[in-house]
């Protein structure tokens, strides 16, 4: 009998420090069949457990075209994330999933794509950015606007440098508060909008970040002519089971774990509770 609550064992195969409180973890399933057959969609999430401490949902942050070793980027904020931060390479965790609906991919082909990420909101978007870059010719303009609280809060510093250089994407970043070494834009991510040369026709925007940032970015995008159905974001709620049973992540008649985490702004407005 399938057991929806029993995690699969996975080995921590790599740890990358991102910021003072954020690390990227790479895992591999122990069971061979699972290791070989594991697939996920951009925007889907995993329930990762540190046995005896707890379990929490995390968006996959790596490229779905390379599913055998998958990564999640985690900031240490609560008991589970702090316990994850203490793990060493070779340690075992439990993983269930992938769960959730994921970002649209094929439907985006032939469109101008805008990503607006805030802080730790970049990791889940990266699971969509990377496969889009793998199939670069199938998309029109790809633009990424990334904001963080300070230069020390920027994740994926090596990858950001590549994105700044490559002609395949238009990349800009901003920090709320700079430091002496920072020469870039200072201000919340929306301060990039007037300078960004946004493509607003035949365009879809993917927005991920803290709730207050999502709210202001959506307002800005609406003001610049994006239709609600072309603004796509993710919702987060306290969550336990990941499979629509425990009831915690319900918003109106939707479950973030089953019907989300990805919602268009149009669908968010149809929920009977205020979400943005």
């Amino acid at each position: 009998m399938d057991n929806i609550y029993l995690p699969h064992k996975a080995i921590l195969t790599g740890i990358q420090d991102e910021t003072y409180d954020t690390k990227t973890f790479e895992f591999e399933f122990v069971e061979r069949a699972l290791k070989e057959n594991f697939r996920f969609l951009p925007g889907q999430f995993l329930e990762i457990s540190v046995l005896g401490i707890g379990e929490a949902p995390f968006g996959v942050a790596s490229n779905p075209n390379h599913p055998e070793r998958f990564r999640v980027t985690i900031r240490a904020v609560g008991s589970v994330t702090r316990a994850l931060h203490e793990l060493k390479t070779g340690d075992r965790v439990g993983i269930r999933g992938p769960f959730g609906n994921g970002f649209p991919f094929d439907e985006m082909k032939g469109k101008n794509i805008l990503f607006v990420a805030g802080g730790i909101g970049l990791p889940p978007l990266r699971s969509l950015i990377e496969p889009m870059l793998d199939s670069r010719s199938e998309f029109k303009d790809i633009q990424i606007l990334y904001g963080a609280r300070s230069p020390a809060d920027l994740v994926y510093s090596d990858r950001l440098k590549e994105w700044e250089k490559t002609p395949e994407i238009r990349f800009m970043m901003s920090v709320d508060v700079g430091d002496p070494a920072w020469t870039g834009n200072v201000g919340v991510v929306t301060t990039l909008f007037p300078k960004a040369g946004l493509m607003t026709q035949n365009a879809v925007a993917f927005v991920c970040g803290p709730p207050v940032m999502i709210r202001f970015v959506i307002l800005e995008l609406l003001g610049r002519g994006f239709a609600p159905e072309n603004i796509i974001s993710t919702l987060e709620r306290y969550m336990k089971c990941g499979v629509g049973k425990c009831g915690h992540c319900a918003v109106g008649h939707k479950y973030i774990c089953l019907d989300g985490p990805v919602f268009s702004y149009k669908d968010m407005m149809k929920l009977s509770e205020k979400v943005v």
Partner: protein, 350 residues
Amino acid sequence: MEQVVLLKRELKHWVDLIRGDFQVFVPSRVYGETFFLPYAGHLEPDLLCGNAALPYLPPKDLVFPQSETLFSFTRNAGDVDLSVPERPSEKRVFLGIRSCDTVGLHWLDHFYLNNFRDSYYQSRRDPLTLISIACSQPMKNCFCICCEGGPFLHPETTAFDIQLVDLEDHYLVECNSEKGKALVDLNRNLFSQPDPSMVEARDQVEIKSHTRFLQEPTSYMSAAIRRITSNSVPPEVWTELGERCFDDGGCTFVCPCCSCFGVGYTAKGETGCHYRFWDSCDYSGFTREVSGHNPRAEKGERFKRRFFHKLSYHYVKKDGRIGCVGCGRCITACPGEVGMPAVVERLRRG
């Protein structure tokens, strides 16, 4: 649906025969209230009548325990073993469950056994056969008649196993499911064919039962369903109702349909377990996030959530019916007097 007859004085004999193959739970009196306990050779006939009092709690915990281990783990030499606790495999019969509680269990079945099937629930539910008793006399808080939760079960709305209809010195036994028929088949010799007057008498009991509901707890369900579904209840009404809520979770724990759970984690040395436990959307911690942000920090918002889940047509479409069977236990449990009928009545006034 097959109808047969069992003499009341043969009921104990029947239970004694089936207890060889089943663990039988029967309504039993404890400190003046009725609870389901394992049969130990004694039946209380007045708890097996059409006018018996509603058991204090629904039998929910026998299929969805208040706390249950999901799996345990043992760390050894860098690896870890995970093991799932053995599930009870014993076949069980619940005798004397009420119509509302039967409908509640079927609601839980629909929720737990579809779309990501819950194998823990299923392992307790599959070996279970329900023998319910139709109610000839509703109690003062009963409003099942407003929620398709009773007083009688009908095959069109509930795939029940066996329903007993109390006809003075005998029961009309209605076998609806394969499980129910199989149970009766084990002891066919105890049952006889009904004559037409018995079926007529059964219908009279049902009609009379319908006339015996008090005016007070009956619910204006359709108005409430419409207003909740269209999101047209003013926020201040939810605030007002929320102010009467004590955040105690009592209504959710006594509700035959409430299904939400939390998950806990424990470890001692190299072993431990992950377990689930009943949780309640009444609690402010139900949605509180690690950042401290709480999307339902206000009581009124939590109150709205509970009733949205119970009554909105969005959930009716998902679950096949409203999430209330009209048992009235939330009325008994609530110290703030905001059980289902009171809320529904307030929503109707707008």
